[in-house]
Subunit: 371 residues, 2 copies
């Protein structure tokens, strides 16, 4: 099973359990998951090799590998809530999300899978929004919904909530930072029920029971923009979470839209800044539609197959040289390869081992650091 | 005397009277003035030939030629108010304005000529401005003034007034739509006195006693943008005069800056639209300074010498063919030349004759129509 090629392939029940065990094991993120599957051919084979790889990366003790029982328990709990755990090549997995490098190997999807297959526009913004901002978010969501787009947002207070509410009839998707049974904020459980009850959906990459922590929100934000053709930021102060979403969206090649505001309004400082940096100034749905229409017809680009890192066996001196160049300050993978005078494949193998040993952190934009 | 080459040349008193007579004669605008001077070598020679040229253009009766007495009267009245009538190559004539195709051949300048030689930024916007808009106009004018720029504006209520007031100390220029003795609005005579009294200036291309009419304002606006490195539009509704200034500024190759606002605020509709069309989103003086600094060092481009239209003598059939292609709907000069299968010079000669006969109207962007 190659997760790179979207198809109508379905995982078998046994494969799905293996995939779930692998992605829920310590130090295995979406990118590592993909490397492992590509190399070993199956999650089952990768699970068997994990302890050995982590030891080579210098792990003091082997990271926890999720047991089959735990995986079955999670799968059953998901099914009880009507959550399907879908692989990127299965129907219902948002197609634009599926082709990202760090697409969740299993995405928890609840509600109408159909909504996730339609073109999506994300609308995000401040929790502490102004009346004008809430009104604009609602108008944009309604008009984009009428034009056939599904609205994605983060179910937060403020702009997110206004965008969801205005698109309940036409279809909206809540992208969660925690498990499907840990809705944040809790008072939006009713809103989520309405979303699901009206042909919308909710998605999460987190296990059932996972209470969202602060650091889960930026991670979640990549799913909001990743599922969408473009992201509209309605109101955002400087250094706010919505700007992180906008940055990730730009890195993912998504269109970024920003609603302008008075320079005297601090809630417009972030959006005005986005426009200065090249985001499309947006006052109405037509501004969004005009920009994404040319993209919609275009076939979604498939991910480039990874060069298989594990095909290149490093020796002790390779490991020492590459690890020695790493420190707590993030550096570019490209710079690391140049400085180590090694092949990209060799460097990636060492990084994968370090990652499985829990010693490597991957930041955005190709930056890595030692933990 | 060639008005194309800025120099330190001064007009003699007699020449200034001739220039004033010519530019104040019927159907002689700045562009026609320039063609006539270039062809006949002097205003005096052009004045002698005007009746003949207008007759060839089909004028029923010769347009009024300003008498020498009238010109002397205007010059004396100007001098009494401290207004100098300057040619584009004389010190005190704003250098960027001087090199425009339609630079006024004689510009009435009152106040500190020095202010007009410094780098100018124009700030314009709605008369019916919001408190936030007035505050922003003031902040921008003050900060740009502190950075060494002279602020040009139109002495109107609202944004113009706020921009002038905030830059009285650092230097500001009022660009008038009427004569220097016909200040509009009248209640801004005090403001103008303060501007002049603090090292600022006022400029106008209109004769003393000229009460500004509605159509004089768009014409005046080309002087605001023409004198400046760039134009900042602070608040502007759709289809407002400030947007005309912005359009002319873009045609003149000036930088256009616009202050954004909420899509729910109609006073921001024009500025948001300008940003959509490529104007620089502006929230503070640094946005303006960053954009104009690279231009400031650059030498001002001289105007290309006109091809002399009168060197090409059209015959009756040339006149009939070219005139026959013209109608009340404006068409592009380039299209006219192509359709008439004539040389550009020949077409321009016929157009000049028609213009002197009062039968031709020149619009912006190379468009012409019959009256």
């Amino acid at each position: 099973m190659d997760i790179r090629t979207p198809s109508t392939t379905h995982l078998t029940d046994a494969q799905r359990i293996d995939w779930l065990r692998l992605i829920r094991s310590d130090n295995v993120g979406p990118r590592t998951f993909r490397s492992l599957i590509n190399h070993f051919g199956s999650a089952r084979a990768a699970l068997e090799r994990l302890p050995d790889l982590a030891r080579r990366g210098g792990a003091a003790r082997s990271g926890r590998i999720r047991s089959e029982d735990d995986a079955r328990t999670e799968l059953a709990a998901s099914q009880r809530l009507g959550v399907s755990l879908l692989a990127p090549d299965e129907a219902g997995y948002p197609p634009r999300l599926a082709v990202l490098d760090d697409a969740p190997p299993l995405l928890g999807v609840r509600g109408a899978l159909e909504a996730l297959m339609r073109p999506v526009i994300a609308i995000v913004g401040s929790r502490n929004a102004s009346g004008a901002g809430l009104k604009l978010a609602g108008t944009l969501a309604r008009d984009l919904g009428d034009a056939g787009f599904v609205i994605a947002s983060g179910l937060a207070r403020g702009i997110d909530q206004a965008a969801h509410r205005a698109s309940i009839e036409s279809g909206t998707v809540a992208v969660l930072a925690g498990g499907h049974d840990r809705i944040y904020p809790p008072e939006h459980e009713d809103l989520l029920a309405k979303i699901i009850g009206n042909g919308g959906a909710a998605i999460s990459e987190m296990p059932m029971g996972h209470v969202p922590r602060a650091r889960d929100f930026p991670r979640r934000n990549r799913l909001i923009s990743g599922a969408a053709l473009g992201v509209v930021v309605v109101e955002a102060a400087l250094r706010s979470g919505s700007l992180i979403t906008a940055r990730i969206a730009a890195e993912q090649g998504r269109e970024v839209f920003a609603v302008p505001g008075s320079p005297l309004d601090p809630r417009a400082a972030g959006t005005n800044d986005l426009i200065k940096q090249g985001a499309t100034l947006t006052t109405c749905a037509a501004d969004v539609i005009d920009a994404v229409e040319p993209i919609m017809g275009r076939p979604i680009e498939l991910r480039e197959p990874d060069d298989d890192p594990l095909a290149h066996e490093p020796d002790a001196s390779d490991r020492a040289r590459i690890t020695g160049l790493l420190g707590p300050t993030p550096i570019l993978l490209d710079d690391l390869i140049r400085m180590a005078e090694t092949s990209p494949a060799m460097a990636r193998t060492v990084l994968l081992e370090l990652e499985l040993a829990g010693r490597l952190e991957r930041h955005g934009g190709g930056l890595v650091s030692l933990i």
